[in-house]
Each structure stands twice: as structure tokens, then as C-alpha cells.
Symmetry: C2
Amino acid sequence: MSETYVHGYHAREGERLQDQAGTLVDLLHSDTAYPGGSLVLEAGCGVGAQTVTLAQRSSDARFTSIDVSADSIAEARRRTDAAGVTNVEFRQGDIFALPFGPGSFDHVFVCFVLEHLSRPVEALVILDGLLKPGGTITVIEGDHGSAYFHPDSAAANAAIGCQVELQRRAGGNSLIGRELYPLMAEAGLDDVSVDARMVYVDASRPDLVDGFTRKTFTAMIEGVREPAIAAGLIEPKSFDDGVRDLHRTTEADGVFCYTFFKGVATKRRRAGASFQEVASA
Amino acid sequence: MSETYVHGYHAREGERLQDQAGTLVDLLHSDTAYPGGSLVLEAGCGVGAQTVTLAQRSSDARFTSIDVSADSIAEARRRTDAAGVTNVEFRQGDIFALPFGPGSFDHVFVCFVLEHLSRPVEALVILDGLLKPGGTITVIEGDHGSAYFHPDSAAANAAIGCQVELQRRAGGNSLIGRELYPLMAEAGLDDVSVDARMVYVDASRPDLVDGFTRKTFTAMIEGVREPAIAAGLIEPKSFDDGVRDLHRTTEADGVFCYTFFKGVATKRRRAGASFQEVASA
């Protein structure tokens, strides 16, 4: 991933991603489990926010988790070690220049990665090429344009818009969730199925108020304050008003909505498959 | 409901609501069934878009379906008769002036009604007063601000904004779905629980592309073309561009998202309840 990241590297961001992973585990992972013995590529593991969950939920599968950042991998390794996870091998690598041959993996898992890439379809084509016939590729992305809330606030939407614009300038797409199906289809993946995983938060769900609205989404927006102001996208007061209004949605009469999208494709066994592919299927 | 409606009365609207009801039946109704012998008030049945489903799913319950419009009731009766439904009694009436005493009903069902009311909390208080202790009130609403799509389009959002503004000028609220929990809480309803029912539409779901994106949501927006232009909210070309872009989301690489909200509250048996209430519970 030779791309610039808007988030993912700093210590506070690491905490945020950990909080997010903890709150959203069931929503995002409940239907992902790989058979014993299967070899799974986690492409773009970052600081390992999903890695422990992935590996624990498929404890008899073997994971190869790659990321372009050595620092992120060091943090991810620290986390998996702390959790006693032993079925993950980490390697530093770029999705666009991976040291794996065709059909190297039974399954591929990609979470919160395509949003950072200027060529997401190309990444999907490359990852699909690493799959054995019959294998699956699972893709999870958010969509910051799916965020809406009560009380509504133009200032909060402007602050969110700063994150979207910074991500866009860095070559990424914070609105990619809604595009998952057409992107996977354009990449030529087989039997694509996408569904929406909405997070609905009201005062009757205090864990989500704190874990998602406050510590995940609002913290992420707060994290772009300095770059947004430095880029001249917004005045400090306007940004701070927006963050204040996002916090306002965590009060007793507030509501917050956000949606993740999860897509799965299953690589078909093709008539023209090589003997090696057929034999290994 | 002595309120002005933005939609609900015209023949084409009737068709739209019927299409909507057909496509969304499972999403909205799958968890609503009333015990045999219970007396259920459907408040604001309109042209009966939900009535046949409601009555068929609880065939041993008895429904009283009211609406402020005699024309709508005539259409609703035609529909239930055509479906062979015999457990619904229709009455013309205004939610704010109903001819029923306290505790008249075991359950209350209100769908796509609060969005039209300038005093939704007052309506909920009145309906709650008609409930016996232990009874439930179920409320379903959409939220037009929950609509987002691919390709994104400022023109489409402007056309949707016209519907929202017209509804607001008529005293209603097209963004009410996200507010359901705080409104039900403010009305003092007991044990309020709200969840989100998202409609996610991509090309792999052709029934929803046609039944929801095209014939429900886009048709509804198309339906406000004349009043929006007459009110000076938008130029004809801009509106038509927006509608064109909504149709664009029904193509093979398009995606459309919308969310309904469903809330249920259960009336508590209170320590200070009258002997009559306790006896009838």
C-alpha cells in the first residue's frame, strides 16, 4: 500500500482502532470463520485491530497478516502476543507488490484498507489472484457519508466533511462502503454478495454511546483537527463546534447512526483451470 | 390528524404505497404479531398499505383502523375486502380527537404517521392513554436523511431536500426516523426500544432495485415535483437532474441505501393503577 494514510499510525489512533474493534467485533466478524488448516491472508492488518479477533475465531486456520508499515506490524505483533495468539505470521509488504504466487491462499480478508487506496479495484484483482479456486475474499469498509444523527448539525457535517476531503486528497475514499458491490464486481470477483451492517446508537445502548459514538467515530473526527485546519478546510471554531455537536448526540435524547459494509466473493473453479489448481481445490 | 399531508391521497401515491408495502413487508412486519382476541388500534391507516399485512399476520386479533380521510378509508376497505380480510373495522377519526376511552386497546400500531404531525409527542401520549397496562405501542417511521447512494449526486440530494422542506412547511418531519427513541421517551412511554431496519440495494437484488429504489423512493421524490417548483424551492431542470440521478442508482453499478426505524414500548402496570386497570390487565 504505497499510499498516504489519514489515520492509522499514531498512538491515540491505535487506541481508537482498538476501541472500535472491541465494540464492533460481533457486528463485523460474527459470520467470518475459516476451516481448520486453511491459509488466510489478512491484507493490511495495520496495528492488528482485527487480527486477534480473526485469529481467535478461526483458531485452527493459519494467518499471514501483512502491512506496509513496520511500526504497525510491531504493534500488531505485540497485541497478538499479549492475547496468546499463535496462528498468525506477520510480514511487511505492499499489497501492490506482494511476494506470493498465484493461488497461495485459501482465503483473503481485507478490512478498512480499500478506503486508503487510490486503486482499490486493482488491489482486489491482485488479491483475487492469490486465491485458490473455491476460496473467498472478504472485504469490510465503513462509509462516513452514512453517518447521521440527532440533533442534526451542519457544523458536525462540516467537520466530518473535512475527514472525507483529507482522505480524498490522500488518494483514498471515505465513502467507499456504499461502493463495495460495484468495486468488487468491477474487479471481476465471482458471486459477490454485500450487506450493510448498521450501528444504531441511542441512550438505551450506553456501551455503543461510549464505545462507538464517542470513542470511535467522534474521536476519529477529532483526530483530523490539525490537518484540516492546516489545509485551510475549516476554521478552528467551526471544527470545534462540529465536534461539540457530535458529542451532543451522546446525550440522553441523542441518536447516532453509521453503517459498515461487508462483501464476500467466492472464486469459481473455472473450466480452464490448471491441473495444479484442480488438484489443490 | 388535522394536518396537511405531503403525500397519501392521490391514486399514484396509493400505488406507490402499495408497492412499498409489498416490498418491505418482511423488513417492517416480521416481528409484529398480536395474540388471538386482542384488540388493536391502527392509528392512521391511510389507504391501508399496512392494514392487510397487519390483519393477516394476526388473524385472530381484531383491528380498529382509523384515518382522518374518508377517501383513504374507502380505499383501505376496498383493499381489505379484496384480500378477504374480515378482522378489521374502519372508522374515520382524528388522532387528536378519538372517540375511545382510556385503556380501550390491548395494542396500538402507528406506521408512517408521526412524520406528518406537528405534535408527534402529543399524539404518542394520547395513543398511550388508549392502551391497557401491559399493552404495546409500535411505531414505524422512515428518515429521508438516511438516503445515500452511488453514484452520489448533489442534484439528487437537492431533490430529496425539496420533499423534506415541503414536509417541514406542512408541519411534518421527514427526518423523524432517527428521532423515534427520544420522541417515545419524551412521551413518557415505558421500556422503549428502537431498532433500525436498513434497506440496502445493489444490482444483485433486482426486486429491491425495482420495488424500492425505483417505485418507492424515487417515485415519492418525483411526486413532489410540482409542489416543489410551485413553492420556488428548485428550478425544474435541477429537480429533473436529481430524479435522473436517482434513477442512475438503479443501474448495474448503482447502490441505494435507506433506513426505517421501528420502536416498541410496553405500558407498565403501575402501583397506582385503578382497580379497573388491574382487573382488565
